[in-house]
């Protein structure tokens, strides 16, 4: 090991450029894949001759690339590609909607806790800590088992188990921003507390909030897949990327393609959002270099 390799601060210009290039290339690839998934799941189903819920018992377990079924058919003879597109539509919608709800709750809790501090802040943040004590999957399944499964429930429950990280990020930001000159000026100006919080402080914390939102979508898609795989999320006949894997284990020996396509789609979607979030973090806020 040489000394040059250790002094990481002094990168050669070429290395620094490679670093930026590499980082942004992955984020860019993520963004492109997300666009492909969004457009594919939005318009793809209209281009296919098959309906995602159309059952054709004579053509069960057709392997991929056999005839008209590009990705084959499942145990009921439904077209896997059609289900994949509809499933991606459901999973992406849940991911994004759950993110929006989680962000709204997280930003509100974080802003109030960070702005008021003291007892209010302590109580709100201890609540955040307490919810974080529950392993996400346990909490999610317990809540899902107590409620009627469906699109709305799944979305709300995922948001309910994901807002705490946002609250932590926003609380830390607001707590430090409220001491800054522009915030003090707003107070001197006679602005209301709500206005200072949501018009001055939160917009100034937009960089970490955007990063958190992107990573939150990744998390939500992953959680949907867990929940639906275990049978407590989106219910058949509707497809989601998770519930397509629900029966995959039984047919693993005879029809492995049933497991491959949805799993690859989930991994692709989640990885893309994670890389995009990582890239945004580097681009927007270099100081926030948490792993």
């Amino acid at each position: 090991m040489t000394t040059a390799a250790l002094s990481t601060d002094q990168l050669a210009p070429g290395q620094a450029a490679w670093r930026r290039f590499r980082r942004h290339r992955l984020a860019l690839a993520g963004a492109v894949i997300i666009l492909v998934l969004v457009f594919g799941s939005a318009f793809g189903p209209y281009l296919l001759p098959f309906d995602d819920t159309y059952i054709d018992i004579m053509k069960r377990f057709a392997p991929p690339l056999s005839g008209a079924h590009i990705l084959g058919t499942d145990e009921l003879g439904r077209d896997v590609l059609a289900r994949l597109m509809m499933g991606a539509r459901v999973s992406l919608s849940i991911g994004i909607t759950a993110m929006v709800i989680a962000m709204a709750v997280g930003i509100a809790v974080g802003a109030f806790a960070g702005f008021y501090g003291g007892v209010v802040g302590a109580v709100l943040m201890r609540l955040v800590d307490a919810v974080l004590c529950f392993p996400t999957i346990f909490l999610l399944i317990a809540l899902a088992a107590l409620t009627e499964p469906g699109f709305v429930t799944t979305t709300v429950l995922i948001a309910a188990t994901a807002w705490m990280w946002v609250a932590r990020v926003v609380e830390a930001q607001v707590r430090s921003l409220r001491e800054r000159e522009f915030a003090v000026a707003a107070v001197a100006f006679g602005s209301s507390n709500l206005r200072i919080m949501f018009r001055e402080l939160v917009p100034n914390a937009i960089a970490p909030i955007v990063v958190a939102a992107t990573l939150n979508v990744a998390k939500a898609i992953l959680l949907e897949s867990y929940l639906s795989y275990l049978g407590y999320g989106i219910q058949p006949p509707a497809a989601s990327l998770g519930n397509m894997l629900n029966n995959a284990q039984i047919y693993l020996t005879s029809a492995p393609w049933l497991a491959i396509a949805p799993g690859v789609a989930i991994t692709l979607a989640v990885t893309s959002f994670n890389f995009l979030g990582d890239g945004l973090r580097d681009a927007l806020d270099p100081r926030m270099n948490i792993p």
């Binding site: 090991m1 670093r19 392993p135 317990a142 088992a145 867990y226 894997l245 693993l252 890389f275």
Partner: protein
């Protein structure tokens, strides 16, 4: 030090109270409340329900019920399983061993592998190895654990026939070799995410340490590079990993639940899902509270241990 521990302990107790309040709220969220199981039964009349409600004290004000419930939790009386009437705590503890075995094995793999990858990545920052490790870690964090388990079963059990596709032991065998044979796949699947996280944390911790002044001083004194790395850099970079161990616990428990489901591993996670299937709410609630308490105690221990090895923490 004593003051720090006392402070941290008080915080943990406060958290436990909030955690239990959340648990209590969830219990009462169940359709029909804690009695939903009986309410669903056709043989129960409304009078029966009212009588049971009174017997169990469910007609009292909620705060009183909560205090009563919390007090019984502290005494170890976690209720009885609807399925076989066994005490919840003993049901949980009979499944705990399998889960701990899985979690411990996965953690050992993840710590060794993750720290090695992280240190190497930090020392050769932006090398091909580091790039591949960073990208690989991100993908590992994005793969659904259950799907990775399915792929593992397909490749190593269905196609190659090297590993069993599930269960903890072959019926009638149960030798150490047989147990290990069954442990490999679920432990590796569970270790994947953990390794990625340990690698990422270790890399950033190591990067921070090797840029410190005392490393430069050591180098200026002419100390051999291996000694700088092992004695000065690695030792200090490993300290924050204690906190990581505490932070990992929720993910580890959640991952164990999923790995246990895929590999039909007879642990707490599977018990949890089975109990949900049977609407066995006392056991479900018990496991939920048990796992949250485990996380709470884990992070408390991690914080205290960190303060023991790094005196700077106690002041803050």
């Amino acid at each position: 030090m004593a003051r720090y521990v006392a402070n941290r302990l008080a915080q943990a107790i406060m958290l436990l109270v909030i955690v239990s309040a959340i648990g209590f709220a969830i219990l009462h969220l169940a359709p029909g409340g804690p009695l939903s199981q009986f309410a669903a039964s056709a043989q129960m009349t409304q009078e029966d329900l009212d009588r049971v409600t009174k017997q169990l004290g469910l007609d009292r004000p909620l705060p009183i019920q909560y205090l009563d419930w919390f007090g019984r939790m502290l005494k170890g009386d976690w209720g009885r399983s609807y399925r076989d009437g066994e005490a919840v705590l003993s049901v949980i503890s009979s499944h705990l061993g399998a889960t701990l075995e899985l979690m411990a094995t996965a953690t050992i793999i993840a710590v060794l592998l993750g720290c090695w990858i992280g240190v190497l990545g930090a020392l050769r920052r932006y090398s091909l190895f580091d790039t591949l490790a960073t990208v690989g870690a991100m993908i590992a964090l994005s793969i659904p654990t259950f799907w990775f388990g399915l792929v593992t079963i397909y490749v190593f059990s269905v196609k190659l026939g090297w590993l069993p596709s599930g269960d903890r032991e072959t019926v009638g065998d149960g030798s150490v070799l047989d147990l290990l044979h069954h442990l490999i796949a679920p432990a590796l699947v569970l270790a994947l995410v953990e390794t990625a996280m340990w690698g990422r944390f270790m890399r950033s911790s190591m990067l921070e340490v090797i840029n410190q002044d005392y490393i430069r001083t050591a180098r200026a004194k002419g100390m051999p590079e291996w000694r700088i790395l092992t004695v000065h850099a690695l030792r200090n970079a490993l300290l924050p990993m204690i906190t990581v161990a505490g932070l990992q616990l929720p993910t580890l428990l959640g991952g164990a639940l999923v790995a246990e489901t895929v590999f039909t591993w007879p642990g707490m996670g599977r018990l949890f899902l089975d109990s949900i299937g049977y609407r066995d709410y006392p056991v479900v609630m018990g496991i939920l509270m048990f796992s949250a308490t485990m996380v709470l105690i884990g992070s408390l221990l991690a914080d205290i241990l960190y303060a023991v090895v790094d005196p700077r923490i106690r002041v803050g």
